[in-house]
């Protein structure tokens, strides 16, 4: 079931918005502060210019400094935004030589003023003022008396300039965001185009086309493309397996059926009841073989198609192995072999598998060993615990199989290169399929000097691992 969870575009867009928002906030704060600062700098410079112009107008007459306030200085002070303007020219004792100042300048400021100048903010009944003061050394022929030039104006100009500077950076930023958004959209389109190509390619594939994808994909999509190719390969493999299985199954069923036909024809041609009986006996034997073959095919198919997952009860592996071994030892088929139980662990090993499937797999392994080994061979079952796994092995001292055939032993109708025997070639395939369903692994190995060992690795039930682990470790030592 595919559920739609958001959209890539929306997610990218969301991140863009968040990033731009956070970044934008920081930028806006910075822009606000810097535009305030720029406006303050520009207008402070005008204040300084006005103060200097007034300072220039100080002259000495009859031994006292006098000032003729230049009109231009006031125009500089007022700025383009028609701020209210204030000035005061004081001597060092605070006496005004000239002023239109509405309030008293704090005495502390007057005392602190030196040649370097001073800028201050002052709140008055007329609103906030920005002041600048300059101490001017002026000298007459008889006396020297420094004068202080104080100038100030209201803040309209600063505010207007700061606002316009800020608005300019704001509009630049908004334009940038819009441009980024458009570019982001285009980029996303371009970036997602390989995905679209891939989608189109997959959609246009025919149902039975399992060839690997041939597409140019970016690095990020390589894994997806590889996974898809892997899936296609497995599907192709599965399909080929199915075809071969069907072909092989038909072939395998055809041979005994042809035999049955021949035997029954021979019997019908004769008029001797003894021969009929003989033929019937052979037909019966053949039918038994065939039905066994059919049964195996059926169980293999069933195993391959069983799918449901249900919680299984944990069962004791040791008990099951013992039970199966006893069952097989009593059978006629085992009469000519030495079937025995090897080492079994002291404590129970719990596995969560279907008992019938394990029994089937185990039976097939034993049957296999009996069938492909000469008479008198030993077939032994071993069970041990190794870590989280149960190691169940069936060992025989028969001829073994060619090393090249070991890898394909698990596939149907492979008989380890031994087409001479009467087996169907399905036993190990059933084991393999069963094992895979149980989450187990099957391992084939030749033994030295001779013989074959088939190992079934079964995962131990999870809740049993912790309990038995310590005991097992102790037992192994």
């Amino acid at each position: 079931m595919i559920e739609v969870e958001g959209s890539l575009k929306r997610r990218l867009g969301g991140w863009l918005v968040v990033t731009v928002g956070v970044l934008g906030l920081a930028l806006m704060v910075e822009a606000w502060v810097s535009s305030q600062r720029a406006a303050a700098r520009a207008f402070d410079a005008q204040l300084q210019a006005a103060a200097l112009t007034i300072a220039e107008a100080v002259r000495w007459q009859d031994g006292v400094p006098q000032v003729v306030v230049p009109a231009a200085a006031l125009q500089i002070l007022a700025t383009d935004s028609q701020a209210r303007v204030f000035y005061a020219v004081l001597d060092d004792d605070g006496r005004a030589l000239s002023r239109n100042w509405p309030v008293d300048i704090p005495a502390a400021w007057q005392q602190a003023l030196d040649e370097g100048g001073m800028s201050r903010d002052l709140t008055t009944a007329l609103g906030e003022l920005r002041l600048h003061a300059q101490r001017v050394a002026s000298a007459g022929w008889v006396t020297q008396l420094p004068v202080q030039v104080w100038v100030g104006h209201t803040l309209e100009g600063r505010r207007a300039l700061a606002r316009s500077l800020f608005e300019r950076s704001l509009s630049r930023f908004v334009a940038m965001v819009l441009l980024t958004g458009v570019l982001m959209g285009l980029t996303m389109r371009a970036a997602l185009s390989p995905l679209r190509r891939l989608r189109r390619q997959i959609r246009e594939r025919s149902a039975d086309d399992f060839s690997p994808l041939a597409a140019r994909v970016p690095k990020e999509l390589l894994e997806l493309a590889q996974a898809l190719n892997h899936l296609f390969a497995r599907q192709r493999q599965g399909r080929e397996d199915l075809l071969r299985f069907t072909a092989d199954a038909s072939h395998q069923l055809k041979t005994p059926l042809a035999g049955l036909k021949t035997v029954s024809e021979l019997g019908l041609r004769s008029s001797d009841p003894d021969e009929w009986r003989q033929a019937l006996t052979r037909v019966h034997a053949r039918a038994e073989d065939t039905s066994r073959l059919a049964g195996q095919l059926l169980s293999l198919a069933r195993l391959r198609h069983l799918d449901q997952e249900t919680a299984l009860p944990a069962l004791d592996l040791g008990a099951l192995v013992r039970e199966v071994a006893l069952d097989w030892a009593a059978r006629e088929r085992a009469a000519e072999h030495d079937l025995g139980l090897g080492s079994l662990p002291a404590e129970p090993l719990k596995v969560r598998v279907e008992a019938w499937a394990l029994r089937e797999a185990l039976g097939n392994l034993i049957d296999n060993a009996l069938r492909y080994t000469p008479r008198g061979c030993q077939v032994t079952l071993h069970l041990a615990r190794e870590g989280d796994w149960a190691r169940l092995s069936i060992v025989d001292d028969g001829p073994g199989v060619a090393d090249a055939a070991l890898a394909t032993l698990g596939q149907p109708f492979q008989r380890g290169g031994r087409q001479d025997t009467e087996g169907s070639g399905l036993g190990l395939a059933i084991v393999d399929t069963t094992a895979r369903r149980m989450g187990a692994r099957v391992q084939f190995a030749n033994r030295s000097p001779q013989g074959l060992e088939v190992v079934l690795w079964l995962p131990l039930a999870k809740d049993e691992q912790g309990v038995t682990g310590a005991l097992d470790a102790a037992a192994n030592q």
Partner: protein, 409 residues
Amino acid sequence: MTLQSGQRFRPFRCLSARCSVPATRRRLLGRVVSQWLPLSLLMLLVVLLGGCHSEDTSVPTDDDPLVISAALDLDVVAPLLDAFRQAYPQIPLRFEDRTTREVDDSVVGHLEGGQATGEGASRAPDVVISSAMPWQMARVNEGLARRLGGPEIERWPEWARWRDEVFAFTFEPVVMAYRLDLSRHMLPPQTHGDLHALLATQARWLSGKVTTYSPLSSGVGYTLAQQDARYSSRFWELVGAMGRADTRLETTTRAMLEGLSQGRYWLGYNLLGSYAMVYAQEHPEVIVQVPRDYSLVLMRMAFVHRDAPHVEAAETFVKFLLSQRGQRVLAGQTPLFSVLPGVTGPYTAARLRTQVGERLYPILPNATLLAFVDPARREAFTDHWRARFQGEPALDEAVERSSGALAPE
């Protein structure tokens, strides 16, 4: 510029105004209005409603009218007041015609505990109008004006307003005037240079016959002298020449015009053109000459007082003054010249420019005017002026230099 009884000065087209405007200064002008019953009922309603809201923005009543403290002849401005009354009959209005100094005192009188003259001392005027531009600017700079807003304000030319608090609403050229007889003896002056030459060459004829504004005792005269000095440092030579010609100093344009008319004076310098042009129409013996080199232009300024008792009515008045309608009356029925673009009439700044040319130099409402009211600067300037007038050589070059800062030479 007060209107004194017994004066013969009659601005033209004032007849219709005179029948409804009482000539006495302190009579309640809104009396005519109260004769109308429905309107008085309406006013009563407005008063009652206003009383419900707040006291400080109360509407004006007959007992407590809208007060306009103005240095502007009532005769001249009467058509405008009539138009206002017609548009807002519910606002009773008292127009107090004063000298520029009295106007300036009235602006701050209420702050100083009623020491100023006149009955309006205990309260601030609602609207202040004056031609003493530097003093108006200083009061506005001190925060005594109220900032206005609205379509009339936004349409008003930027160069004729300051901070949206004070508005220069007239455009009055500063002119020379002479008696017709003068041209029989000499070529009448057309420029400042002509005047200077005439004073030098015809000193015998002109001695005691020249008049000008006193920069010592008239705010307008002082402003004009300051501005003249800023444009040309040769102004001081003219001052010296006027002093040698025993020039008589007057404090009003009307006094100068009447002197010319009566033959006491032959030549007048720096008269307000608004009054002179109208006067000359009725007195053919007086010729008005707009100087051909440059002509200063004085702009009367109006503002709503910060402490106006009737804020809304005061704003209504100023906005009416600046509106198309008010300016049309100004351009058509007063010689004050409208600066509002698009207004037509015989008296508009645009028409004056086409008639006189581009040699009009208006004194604009900006911060430079504030320097003129600086006491130290004023004292230095008047001292220097007096010295030059009395024939002393240039004692104080700094004054000439600083006041000539804008000299084009």
